[in-house]
């Protein structure tokens, strides 16, 4: 019962959604609107789950004094203070909450992604060291596409680099993306069908 009722909910709702897509009727539209209203009412509690998970993980780290447990205090204080700032002073422009977003969250997020520029460079180096024909093709395509996007590429190789870039993007890249999209699409359909028919049940978790 603990597994079969949730499974029955998934299968029933799943087939109703298949019907919604194929049957343009008021009943199916009403069903969709009812579902969206209910799922939106459930959604805030998903965030509660995430916040509880962070609090429990970091509290346990502090409690058991695992290596680097002190940093968990930083996470918890930052999380509660940011949330408090949002509730106490609002989330509009010019509030401490937005100050935290603009001067703490945003710079760190952008820098985290900027760091990847260096690691991508080292990944390219490793790919070159592999010296396989495929790795070379990959890097050549990457270099041409990059040169085609920046003025220095045109000044070094002339307008021709733009034409080659466009050709790469519109011909082999298109074929590649199309082949992969077809594979991914068929995979998604297969996985969705497995869930819909109750074959795939891992989302229900372990236990009884």
């Amino acid at each position: 019962m603990k597994r079969s009722i949730p499974l029955a909910i998934v299968i029933t709702l799943g087939f109703l959604f298949v019907g919604y897509v194929f049957i343009p009727h008021k009943i199916s539209t009403d069903f969709y609107e009812w579902y969206m209203e209910w799922i939106k009412a459930m959604s805030p509690f998903g965030v509660v789950l995430g916040i509880m998970s962070i609090v429990m993980t970091h509290s346990a780290r502090i409690q058991h004094k695992v290596p680097n447990w002190q940093y968990s205090i930083v996470t918890l204080i930052a999380m509660f203070f940011t949330a408090y700032a949002g509730f106490a002073w609002g989330t509009q422009e010019g509030t401490p909450f937005m100050w935290l977003f603009k001067n703490v969250q945003m710079p760190m997020g952008a820098t985290m992604f900027a760091l990847l520029a260096f690691y991508i460079a080292s990944a390219s180096y490793k790919a070159f060291r592999a010296r396989s024909a495929e790795a070379t093709v990959l890097l050549l395509a990457a270099i041409i596409v990059m040169l085609g996007q920046v003025p220095v590429g045109v000044s070094m190789f002339g307008e021709g680099i733009n034409d080659i870039t466009h050709w790469i993007l519109n011909v082999p890249n298109l074929a590649s993306k199309r082949g992969i999209a077809l594979g991914v699409g068929l995979g998604m359909v297969a996985t969705s069908l497995r869930i819909l028919l109750g074959i795939e049940r891992t989302y229900l978790g372990g236990g009884e």
Binding site: E37, A41, G86
Partner: protein
């Protein structure tokens, strides 16, 4: 003065993150944990304002749609994930969300398969159209794992791999460009906004 302090805080945290390029260190760790905390904290008031108030509080207490107590109650069951004895209750909100998968079957079939097939089924009037056709077919053959990639079939599949490598290369190039743009943005912030070396 206030703007200067704000810039210095942002600059300090930016440098803390960049310090990871040398090696993992306490400054990076501090910034990393702070980032997680601030990001998590940021979602709480926003979820309250953008999800809880409009979709739960307002319909329930102002419009008196008491039927929404049911999904709210189902949503609360999420937190039983952490309870070993009652964690089966958290399957109900998950199951309710998973129901949407039914829509995924026809929509994935349409968006990812039929639209792509329609795009592929064009008259082969020039060499580029032929190359796209060959690429699509050979890549699809590559993903057919029921036949061993050996002999003549293996050679055909190899063409698909080359096409995919060019595609990955193009994506890689775009990713590098995006990351470099972010890096330029951060360096510009440090050099122009904080140190005022360039205008």
């Amino acid at each position: 003065m206030f703007e200067m302090i704000s810039n210095w805080v942002a600059a300090f945290l930016t440098l803390c993150i960049f310090s990871f390029l040398y090696k993992d260190n306490p400054f990076y760790k501090f910034a990393e944990y702070l980032f997680i905390g601030v990001t998590a904290g940021y979602t709480i008031p926003l979820t309250w304002e953008m999800a809880f108030i409009p979709y739960v509080y307002r319909p329930l207490f102002l419009q008196h749609k008491f039927i929404l107590l049911i999904p709210a109650f189902i949503g609360i069951l999420y937190i039983f994930t952490f309870n070993r004895k009652l964690n089966w209750l958290s399957r109900y909100p998950i199951a309710f969300g998973m129901g949407m998968v039914g829509m995924g079957v026809p929509l994935s079939m349409h968006a990812s398969v039929l639209v792509q097939m329609r795009g592929a089924m064009i008259p082969i009037e020039n060499i580029n159209a032929l190359l796209v056709f060959i690429g699509t077919i050979t890549i699809l053959l590559y993903f057919y794992f029921s036949k061993a990639h050996t002999g003549a079939y293996g050679k055909i599949v190899k063409v698909g791999i080359w096409y995919m490598m060019i595609g990955f290369g193009a994506s890689f190039g775009y990713t590098v460009m995006a990351r470099i743009s972010l890096l330029i943005g951060r360096v510009q912030f440090l050099v122009a906004d904080v140190l005022h070396i360039i205008k």
